[in-house]
Symmetry: C2
Subunit: 497 residues, 2 copies
Amino acid sequence: MERLERFRTLVKELKAYQYVMNVIGWDSETEAPRGAFGPRAEVMGIIGGEIFKRSTSQEYQDVVNGLYRDIASLDADTAKEIRRAKKALDKIVTIPEADFVGYQRLLTLAQPAWEDAKAKNDWAGFKPFLADIIEMNKKFVGYYGLPGEPYDILLDEFEEGMSMKAYDKFFNALKKDLVPFVKKILAVKNDRRDPFAEAKFPIDNQQIFSNYLLTVMKFDRSRGLLKKSVHPFTWNTSPADVRLTTRYSPDALFGSVFSTIHELGHATYEQQIDPIFDATLLSSGTTMGIHESQSRMYENMFGRSRPFWQKHLSELKRLFPTQLKGATVDDVVFAANKVEASYIRTEADELTYPLHIMLRYDIERMLFSGKLTVDELPAKWNELMKSYLGIVPPTDSEGVLQDVHWSSGLIGYFPTYALGTAYAAQIYHAMQKELDIDKLLRAGDMGPINAWLKDKIHRFGGSKSPEQIMLDVTGEPFDPHYYIDYLKKKYTALYLS
Amino acid sequence: MERLERFRTLVKELKAYQYVMNVIGWDSETEAPRGAFGPRAEVMGIIGGEIFKRSTSQEYQDVVNGLYRDIASLDADTAKEIRRAKKALDKIVTIPEADFVGYQRLLTLAQPAWEDAKAKNDWAGFKPFLADIIEMNKKFVGYYGLPGEPYDILLDEFEEGMSMKAYDKFFNALKKDLVPFVKKILAVKNDRRDPFAEAKFPIDNQQIFSNYLLTVMKFDRSRGLLKKSVHPFTWNTSPADVRLTTRYSPDALFGSVFSTIHELGHATYEQQIDPIFDATLLSSGTTMGIHESQSRMYENMFGRSRPFWQKHLSELKRLFPTQLKGATVDDVVFAANKVEASYIRTEADELTYPLHIMLRYDIERMLFSGKLTVDELPAKWNELMKSYLGIVPPTDSEGVLQDVHWSSGLIGYFPTYALGTAYAAQIYHAMQKELDIDKLLRAGDMGPINAWLKDKIHRFGGSKSPEQIMLDVTGEPFDPHYYIDYLKKKYTALYLS
């Protein structure tokens, strides 16, 4: 098929442009000096414009539409790819170039505006940008002309197939079971000593431990690396080049440890994708939710578990002998799973974390249905914090201004964090039937665990939907009760027995 | 002028593509994991192809040729820019796309082939690549159809206006005066203790000292950074983003110290260019030779001088108190200026360095005139080493295979290293008439020195020819006797008095 070959070439070129944007992004996030950003914005405008032009060119439209008409004749993976290309194409061609470019410029300005506002606790300084970003997103959804509610369209962009109806079902289950349980746990008096929060931990040795984690989790350094950045993230251009970052502070040993393990979950996923997808649009992980299931499984289910620390505490104590003198496995397990009502999502414990997400979901939902204005946002934020966690942030910086997402145009993204964790619980349950996970962690043997995840999830890249993955891996559709049961069992054992 | 505006837009776009190639190059040199290089080669092929297409497009040709016809109506800087654009255009349009792409591919393959050959002392493994690279360069020069000898065309590419005739005059002056002087110095018995070569110097503190050097040399960190790489280099995309690298080995303290100072010379040049040239083809330093004059002045004339160490030895001793116990300023000045007949150019002292360059110039000259074949190259290398330095490298890895340049297609580049150092001596001589350099160095006050260099050289970016710079700065044309006098005076004082 000549048309398919032409599609391959166009995709390869388009991906080359995205590749260079990714490399520039990596540089921006991890080391570029302040001065770089002015000239760089100009370059990104030019290359970004070229990407828009190529993504909407008549030839690309003809090729994708032509292949879509004959989709029945394609193999399953290619059909999935064409469906994905067609879905993206049908959206982007509805956007006038001026709006597309204007939105990119808005995001470029919104990012530093948010940083400033957060630093100065200046909600008013960020509000107009957020209002514009929400307006533009509504406008784009209007252009698409797709059936359904606007917020549903955004939810589907980050987690294919998800909608308010599906999320409501999920979050209502959490609300019913989890909110009272969290209150019960928060009421338990906890004055256990926490040696991991008290001392100062020199960054050099934290770096050594993070690198130790890469080794023991079997990260392939010939196809990736670890670096530091302000906000930890995973970056990839192919399974052959997968990079993760972590952050270091002398006051927060667990900050680097669990950021590194979390990102290792994402990074292992990307490294284990079958390279046959390299040149296709299916070359990365399926969805945000499935991706987060891997990072949260690594972080919470492996990294915060007793068997994990039975193996690895000795190395941590070797690096911090005075700070951790006398610390036991029990100490680390309790400290790593300490439950607290807190303001900041990224620092929240595993149990209160989904409540932070529910709050954001409620707010985005209301913003898009017209039930909440941007003006009313900070008050609503505080009201919901009070209702879910019983606390009110003293400043907007610790409240409505805390997250980077909205200033980057990521609306509809937050719910995937909670969903991913819930996926993780169900996948972990299935894995337990086939592997003695505790025993493997206690032995420091990640090989069989990574191999299982590769075989069941990772290798497929973006070729399966999340529904299909959950069904294939666990034998049943997604069911939030695995998540609720997991949390209740874990925290009952830690706090109520 | 509408045509000039169109030229500006085309140049801005072309520069955006070069910018992304530069960022990828920086990543490749400083951190990309091994796995990255496969996928990356494909991307660079696509973006490189786009650069070729845009550099040779009919529109670009029309615009440049149109402006060139009306060059008399342009201001001096724009005229210089158009002349430069026209010169490059007239060359590149003569190259068939297949040859251009084929040569890029050849270089991509030659690079790892050279690395392997050097590691394994396997001249035969690199020879066919070098033969092809030389053939392709001859072919390209043939396409250009310019008057003069092929090697002259290459020399001019790296140092505008230079030719074999001019270099012969320069090198013959060196041969006549310097070769016998070097023999005299090498005959002096030198058994002075060298504390800087004997001990082990932990890399962490070497990094601290290199960063200290950035601070005291007044490098602006908001517009640049220091990193490490296998081969030190300076990288820049604009005065707002100038980066340098150095290398660290526990056995070679001076390796990091003088690499850092050398690159600081290049980097300071780039940071001090007037931003009015940003969007033009005159946005970087004039030529390789003038650039090298700045790096070698920083390294040799400032960094290896007595006043410099009168100021900075205490900081070095603070970082390495046991290793440098009792070391004096005399010790560091002698150690930093120790003369030895050695095999490796990049590790050669200031006095024997130009002999390494003369050897390479002789060889390139003979290869292009047909007086030497690639087969005969290693024997000729060793013969010339014997003649200039009295030693013969025990392996090709320490001889003909040592440099990266030929495998990167850089032929005609080496002579600019010696020329730059000679420029430096003449510029330094002029600077001395206006500034008390020793006093400023002794006070650690680089401000007036950097300001002088900015005013006389740096700010002009690529808008002046090297001849013009030498004339404007020193009041006379380039004259190699300043260099010879400088070396004789310096080494007579150190070795013969």
